[in-house]
Amino acid sequence: MTMMKKLLTSAVASALMVGGAQADISDNTIKIGYLADMSGTYRDLAGPNGLAALNMAVEDFGGKVNGAKIEVVSADDRNSPDVASSTVRRWLENDDVDLVAGLVASSVSIAVSDILEENDKLGIVSGSAASSITNEHCTPNHIHYVYDTYPLANGTASAVVKEGGKSWFILTADYAFGHALESDVTRVVEANGGEVIGTLRHPFPTPDFSSFILQAQASGADVVALANAGADTTNAINTASEFGITQSGQTLAALLLFLTDVHALGVEAAQGIQLTTGWYWDMNDETRAWSDRFMEKTGVRPTMVHAGIYSSTLQYLKAVEATGSDDAQTVRKHMMETPINDMFAKNGRIRADGRMVHDMYLAEVKTPAESKSEWDLYKILRTIPADEAYRPLSESKCPLVSSK
């Protein structure tokens, strides 16, 4: 009897929810689930401070949108697609989460995007690098913000080749992200008249790079490129400086470096390294003002991912406010139609494949003499316009693009 009653009530309730979703906000709450690596390798570039950035966007709305309460839940994905999948499934199926934010490891984002599509909910990827997230793995249910491997390769590799670095040796982290970066870099180097004379795939993570650096040195290439991330990159840079890579006339190119990595290396070891970034805290008054606010809460300067999490949450809430709905497709459609203009991006737009394209920046790490304070780390050399930076839709393998 009670069983029957339960079934009936849940049937009625879900019928009501489905019916109401198009027009208004279900259960009068906007629930945001923040999923990121909170304790491992990628903690500092997003992690707990990313949650703080997300909460800043919620604060800007006074904790309410159209009278509906904004609730934030968070979880540690431990960089495991399995952990991430079960968490997101619970969030979407039992806890009525409307938006999944954060999303750092590429493997996690790809796994989560499938579950988002199954449940027709929205996700915004802010931390991942793989460009395949909006290419082979695109869905109508996720948006990729901040950056990906395509502009990283485009920005840094083309700049270094133009400065005369013709022959390249690439040290690649041996997993999906590294492979994607390696192939993007190879394409850019060859397109600019350079040549990749050797690649070496190292295990992830690698604590000691001396053997690999020695091989890169012996290759005689003009440029030693690092297609890896986090501790692998900082370890490789440290070892390269120990073994005198730059003194022997080779250029070191790090393809993915976050502000937190450069801060950890220090300007002494990292000076002169060129990198591509989606945002830098010290670009203008707007970015500085927001970064001051962020620093008050966290004690550190924000990475591009922190800024992206704030900006994407803000844009999401604005779309909910404008449409009066929390239905994934309604909100996504509105977000795609509205240009993004905030402290993170100017005239950013979300394409049919879910890629948010915006200007990227080629930066160089300052020398100890130029750096005035602890976080005064980059000088911006060049702005890479959005359309030049990202993979053009004409090259896209995303089915959403061809059906458009």
Binding site: P203, P207, D208, S210, S211, A218, T234, G244, T260
Partner: protein
């Protein structure tokens, strides 16, 4: 130029030397594990955390008090050693004589706690530690550029390894230690303070780990998670050498460094797996390890 399997001899010599350097490092770390297991029968899963504490202490002592590298080389292991003795006195002692799994779980828990607390305080990006001035630069050996610091690491690590082996296997103190763990009651009867001996042994074992941590500070990213990566490799080294065999841990450590180095030259993607492959083969052929005593 002479080539061996398509690799120039000069490059190969360089890789062999690098292998020996990394091997010396493995030897130092597995030595502490072997001492603790061989004498106390504790499977010390906190060993990676102790290594990390040694490195973190070096950086923190420098940042907060300006303690230089040479002082840290003694002070950091000493502090970590005292911490280890406290852990032994308050926690490990309570499960003495129980199945190995208890000490494994307890030390693993301690490692996670220490790692978690430090991650919250310092993040995971890594702390900066500058190379001491006298070690800057290196020497060109003809076939490779050898940074001075790496030469120092290999020398000091092998010296400490040999000293430890000598002390435990060849001196009276070592004999007490071995006897105390063999038959505690009898040694107690001879008036030897066995519980103190046990504390000191554990403290000494983790000091070796912390010492390796200090050596690592100028060349590797110092982060709260640095120990968790290396722990498993070092355990494999100890298993290959024969659990508890002190000389075995040292020789196997150097050997594995070289094997790993060669793999890094001929087929890099397998370099993190090769040690485990060796472990599987050794366990199949000689379940007690290369230098382990027959059970």
């Amino acid at each position: 130029m002479t080539m061996i399997f398509g690799v120039p001899l000069a490059v190969l010599s360089g890789q062999l030397l690098i292998g020996v350097i990394n091997g010396a490092f493995y030897a130092l770390l597995s030595l502490g594990l072997a001492v603790i297991f061989g004498l106390l029968k504790i499977i010390n899963f906190a060993h990676g955390a102790m290594y990390m504490l040694g490195a973190m202490a070096t950086v923190i002592l420098f940042d907060a008090l300006g303690v230089n590298y040479w002082v840290a080389l003694f002070l950091a292991p000493l502090l970590v050693g005292v911490f280890g003795m406290l852990v032994e006195y308050f926690l490990l002692r309570r499960i003495a004589g129980q199945d190995h799994i208890y000490s494994l779980l307890l030390t693993f828990g301690i490692a996670l706690l220490v790692q978690g607390v430090l991650t919250n305080l310092y993040g995971v990006s890594g702390l900066r530690y500058a190379m001491p001035d006298m070690f800057k630069g290196g020497i060109n050996l003809g076939f490779m550029f050898l940074p001075y610091y790496r030469a120092w690491v290999i020398g000091v690590a092998l010296l400490v390894c040999f000293g430890t082996w000598f002390m435990i296997e060849k001196t009276k103190l070592g004999a007490y230690l071995r006897a105390g763990t063999e038959d505690a009651q009898l040694m107690q009867g001879f008036g030897v303070n066995v519980p103190l001996l046990v504390s000191l042994t554990y403290g000494f074992g983790v000091m070796l780990a912390a010492f390796a941590g200090v050596l690592a500070a100028p060349i590797y990213s110092v982060t709260p998670v640095m120990g968790s990566h290396i722990l498993i490799v070092v355990f494999a080294v100890v298993v290959i050498g024969g659990m508890g065999s002190i000389g075995g841990a040292i020789i196997t450590g150097v050997l594995m460094g070289v094997i790993e180095g060669l793999t890094k030259t001929f087929y890099p993607p397998a370099s993190s797996a090769v040690i485990f492959l060796v472990m599987v083969v050794v366990l199949m052929v000689r379940p007690t390890g290369l230098f382990g005593k027959e059970a």
